[in-house]
Symmetry: C2
Subunit: 175 residues, 2 copies
């Protein structure tokens, strides 16, 4: 997938991206006329994936916070792509789309606060950013093999909420 290559190397050649995607550079160009178009498409897809993860987790009752974290961890690569690509900071359209997504997550966190699973002491925007950052860190460590995918949501949750019961037993430091 183009996302993976671009996460590892944002300046990757179109030739490299094409070969990683298993197609020729010519074919790549037929789909995305220009490099910018490709980056845009990847970014839009990444945002869609993230948005779906969030809205999917928003449905249903009970521990929303746990669900949204668990849903975001697997899409960490997309998060990383968006996050590590400063070019999008200056693109108004993508920037607006991202603000929407932050808004959706903020709504979810608001519900989590009402549920009592998230402290209401911190500013909502901060909780949103902290969650994204922690999810990113978790998925990075999964990628590096330091963290088991199933343990990741627990770590993020425990950090974000101080719920010690969320810490995966495999990982705790009881000593």
């Amino acid at each position: 997938m183009a996302t993976d290559v671009l996460v590892a190397e944002p300046g990757a050649t179109l030739a490299a991206i094409a070969s990683a995607a298993g197609v020729s550079r010519t074919t790549l160009h037929s789909h995305y006329p220009t490099r910018q178009a490709l980056l845009r498409a990847v970014a839009e897809r990444a945002m869609r994936v993230c948005a779906e993860a969030i809205s999917g987790a928003a449905e249903g009752g009970g521990d929303v916070l746990a669900r949204v974290v668990a849903a975001l961890v697997p899409v960490g690569a997309h998060l990383a792509f968006l996050w590590r690509n400063p070019s999008f900071d200056h693109d108004p359209e993508l920037g607006a789309r991202w603000l929407e997504i932050e808004g959706e997550l903020r709504d979810v966190l608001e519900v989590a606060r009402e549920e009592g699973s998230l402290s209401a002491d911190l500013p909502d925007w901060w909780s949103v950013h902290a969650l994204f950052a922690l999810v990113y860190v978790a998925s990075e460590n999964i990628f590096l093999g330091r963290l088991a995918p199933l343990d990741a949501p627990g770590l993020v949750l425990a950090t974000l909420t101080s719920r010690r019961d969320a810490i995966p037993a495999r990982i705790g430091r009881p000593r």
Copy 2:
């Protein structure tokens, strides 16, 4: 400073970097013969700055955790440069240096655990990464004007330790 330009735009032209630094491209080349040399130098400086912030905070008794967070927030731009530059992930020398820095922070956090200011439930490596990530988020929001520099350490601390007393009064959500 070259760091600032490269944080905002990792693929920035040497001409752009030079003009941002207030020198001619020729002069830049005389200092750093090649682009790679420049990036290396910036990375090494960034790491040195971070390392000094950490070791500086390690000295002295009392709330080490608060000191190290407060010391790292101002160097967030350097953190951002290192973090957003995947090319360093593959450079063995710089990678080793970064592991050293993580180790230094880990030692500091170990002291914080003994002090009782940091929960001992989470794995040490996770605390290290979470701290870096939260500091980065804080400094990004400072840059964007959403967060007052003096409030940042409190937010990071509160998130990392659930110490509600660390939350800046200006920022809390008492309602």
